[in-house]
């Protein structure tokens, strides 16, 4: 007689538990479809968002962009070229294997030696990875590198299961096995990536979601419609004007977050015959061009004033942002004087290459209009991104409106773009003094001294040589359901699953 109510209670309880589990299913709309999900081989920004749920790193970063231990518990520089890392105990990979010093050595070596690795250049200075004991690893560098710890806060610091990686080889990305809060369930290309809670996660108490589905939805309007209709609970990198669209929607909350990257004008100074232009030859012409621009007005017209005008590659969120190096006010008269001094009386022709998307094309048009008032004749060339990038590498451009997603350490936003041997210095800017300062800043362990080195670099490369014209720091506009709690915005734009809960 008493069995029935008991069974009914158990049934109801089970139903309640399963509906809570069902309710803890977070659906995140991504702006693009990630590339391969292998920390060694992947290269897209959007892929990093998915890794946040799946692959813990030796270090994470906090809201102030400082490294904080994640799979590590502590670190110490034994000398400027030797980093000792203590690992967290009791961490398991999704396949049940133990995460220890041997696994760290395996993963870092994999980044260094695997064919097609995209981590090799980030970790280029590593000469040896030594297992001191099961919980301690020593990394030796060929020269001091202050940015190295920051490198380990991204994909280079992700530790994969050696057993799974060995078994899968180059196909590891089709079924990645890491030590993050969620384990990989399935991926249907261009459709969804599904993760589910990993009960043995080392910090399982902070994981309340049972399942996370990442849905690539490239169209902005449709991504917003998905949020408005409740088909997804989180949308990343939304458009600034979406915030206005959801103002009266009580079910959605918008969070604009200052990002790590920037948008700017890359100038061809020394890459092939197209560098032989007034802009490429003469810093005074570049200065005139810069003075003709009103960054705040561009941002107001194109992005509703939401982005932050800038003159440097380091975002305001970073402690390395050079406070004294701010955009100069627009000064058309001074720009005209500079052009006259440089010997230009007729309008100076400039071809501006812009990626073919609506907002950057519009930004190009505003720049065109502003520069024309100072005596420039700007021709816009909109190009699909892949072709534009190839053109940039080959030097087939005069000025290129190009962005960068940004890195936590300033070195990641500066070195490759300003150093004469930098991989992204498409304009082939070369200044030995700047090279020397960049090397010194990379090696400098003292934060204050390093800040001063970056100040000198800005004043020389940007203030005097005008090798690039930085325009604005974007904001990551995140929109999420008000049912979601625990989201802490971070300038890196990543969506960390810790503490997230659907009410």
């Amino acid at each position: 007689m008493s069995r029935f109510p008991l069974a009914a209670c158990l049934g109801l309880a089970a139903l309640a538990v399963s509906s809570v589990a069902q309710a803890q299913h977070l659906r995140i709309a991504l702006r693009e479809d990630p590339d391969i999900l292998d920390p060694t081989l992947s290269r897209t920004y959007v892929g990093r968002i998915v890794y946040m749920g799946m692959c813990d790193k030796l270090f994470d970063i906090n809201e102030q962009l400082e490294p904080v231990p994640q799979l590590a518990t502590a670190w110490r520089w034994e000398d400027p070229q030797s980093l000792l890392i203590t690992l967290r105990q009791g961490v398991r990979f999704h396949d049940g294997e133990v995460m220890d010093a041997e696994a760290v050595r395996y993963s870092l070596n994999r980044h260094l030696t695997m064919q097609g690795s995209f981590r090799r250049s980030e970790m280029g200075g590593v000469t040896a990875i030594e297992v001191v004991d099961p919980q301690t690893v020593r990394i030796r560098l060929d020269r001091p590198n202050a940015a190295f710890l920051a490198t380990l806060t991204d994909r280079a610091g992700m530790i994969v299961s050696p057993k799974a990686a060995e078994a899968a080889g180059r196909n590891f990305g089709n079924n990645p096995v890491c030590a993050g809060p969620m384990r990989f369930v399935e991926r249907v290309a261009q459709e969804r990536i599904v993760l589910e809670r990993f009960p043995e996660y080392w910090d399982a108490g902070r994981i309340h979601l049972q399942r996370v589905t990442y849905l690539p939805i490239p169209d902005n309007t449709v991504r917003l419609a998905n949020l408005q209709s409740g088909a997804v609970e989180f949308g990343e990198r939304m458009e600034p004007d979406d915030l206005r669209a959801i103002q009266r929607n009580r079910n959605l909350r918008g969070v604009p977050v200052e990002e790590l990257g920037y948008q700017g004008l890359q100038i061809n100074i020394g890459n092939g015959p197209r560098a032989n232009t007034p802009m490429g030859r003469d810093a005074r012409v570049r200065e005139a061009f810069e003075l003709s621009l009103d960054r705040a007005a561009i941002v107001q017209v194109v992005y509703e004033g939401m982005y932050t005008p800038t003159r440097q590659p380091v975002p305001p969120a970073s402690s390395f942002h050079v406070r004294s190096f701010q955009p100069e006010p627009r000064n058309v008269n001074r720009a005209r004087e500079l052009l006259r001094a440089a010997g230009h009386t007729a309008p100076v022709p400039v071809e501006l290459l812009v990626p073919n998307n609506p907002d950057l094309r519009q930004a190009g048009e505003v720049i065109q209009a502003m520069a024309s008032e100072a005596g420039f004749e700007v021709t816009l060339r909109a190009s699909e991104f892949a072709s534009a990038l190839q053109g940039a590498v080959r030097g087939e451009f005069e000025v290129f409106l190009l962005g960068w997603s940004g890195r936590t350490d300033p070195d990641g936003n500066i070195y490759a773009f300003m150093h004469s041997t930098g991989g992204q210095n498409d304009g082939r800017y070369k200044n030995e003094e700047v090279d020397r300062l960049l090397e010194a800043a990379r090696a400098e362990g003292d934060v204050e001294k390093r800040k001063d080195l970056y100040r000198q670099i800005m004043e020389l490369a940007l203030g005097r040589d005008r090798m690039r014209i930085y325009l604005w720091h974007r904001k990551n506009v995140m929109i999420h359901s008000t049912r979601l709690s625990g989201y802490r915005p971070n300038p890196d734009g990543m969506i960390r699953l810790q503490d997230l809960r659907l009410n």
Binding site: D35, Q390, A416
Partner: protein, 315 residues
């Protein structure tokens, strides 16, 4: 019948061989170096570019690259996606059912609207039903898919909350949800095709209705229904079938904009993403598969002519 079939099948192989040349050759004309795209942040490092080119055989002569690709294709190996490292054949097999479902649904909607509307419009020429059908056809043909798609999403998903705004659920996983996710894109695609079918059915029916055999049928005292359905329509259907198979082929090749708007992971979206990422093996594989679908559909159309019109069987 059999010799005809064998002859047509014999024509398919050279067609596909020529197509494979074209696909491979035209792709080489695309600007944008795949190695530069894949190198990402390391694009300025010649060693990285060389390594990628060597790995992907991009450093070999084009003819050698072609022979390597076509040799593998003949053995059923379409290669690997450079971007996400999945076998291209697996990607095609993943996307084909999605696109096929969407294409079939759109086609059914198109036929259900277009053919009856065309018949109605021809038999009620210059009367309100004709004007109405023409108006609907004009709307179907001239409304851009992306606009109609977004309007439908805003109405049925955001305002009314009846249908999911985007995404796809396979038919075998959850048939109801699958229909819910595909009905809007199928309608968007279907209305466009319906307009074209309606115009062609109307024109073909008007021609058929003015023919001598129709007048004879009427003179014999046959009921108007029989005249229209049995005599006129049967003849009018031949050009409609031709057009229908072409339209179905187009639908199966993937509807780029509609798939993009509704985030339907089909052929169209696959090939567009692959082009933008210069993922050559995927572009080649999908275009070849699409060409094969077209060729097979034209064979089906030929067989349908034989079924509809007995006179062709003696030809």
């Amino acid at each position: 019948m059999l010799p005809f079939l064998l002859r047509r099948l014999g024509q398919i192989l050279p067609t596909l061989a020529i197509l494979s040349f074209l696909i491979f050759g035209l792709q080489q004309l695309m600007p944008g170096d795949p190695a530069v795209i894949l190198a990402g942040e390391e694009r300025g490092d010649p060693a990285v570019l060389a390594q990628i080119r060597a790995e992907l055989r991009l450093d070999r002569p084009i003819w050698e690259q072609y022979l390597y690709w076509i040799g593998n294709v003949l053995q059923g190996d379409f290669g690997w996606s450079w971007r996400i490292r999945m076998p291209v054949s697996e990607l095609i097999l993943q996307k084909l059912p999605v696109t096929a479902q969407l294409a079939v649904m759109s086609f059914v909607i198109a036929v259900l609207i277009g053919v009856p509307a065309g018949i109605l419009s021809a038999t009620r020429r210059d009367r309100p039903a004709d004007w109405l059908a023409n108006g609907i056809a004009l709307f179907g043909i001239s409304t851009p898919n992306f606009w109609l798609g977004i309007m439908m999403i805003l109405l049925f998903s955001v305002q009314l909350g009846w249908l999911p705004p985007s995404g796809y659920v396979p038919l075998w996983e959850d048939p109801v949800q699958s229909l819910a996710t595909t009905i809007m894109p199928a309608f968007v695609l279907g209305t466009g095709v319906a307009g074209v079918l309606m115009r062609h059915t109307r024109a073909a029916m008007l021609t058929a209705l003015s023919q001598d055999y129709v007048r004879t049928a009427r003179a014999k005292g046959l009921a108007e229904k029989v005249v229209i359905w049995k005599h006129a329509l049967r003849n009018a259907l031949i050009p409609v079938v031709t057009l229908g198979t072409i339209e179905l082929g187009r639908l199966l090749a993937g509807a780029v904009l509609t798939e993009q708007i509704f985030t339907i992971p089909g052929f169209g979206k696959l090939v567009v993403d692959a082009v933008f990422n210069r993922d050559y093996p995927v572009v080649q594989g999908v275009v070849l598969a699409t060409a094969l679908i077209f060729v097979l559909l034209s064979l089906v159309a030929d067989l349908l002519y034989l079924a509809i019109n007995p006179r062709l069987r003696q030809a």
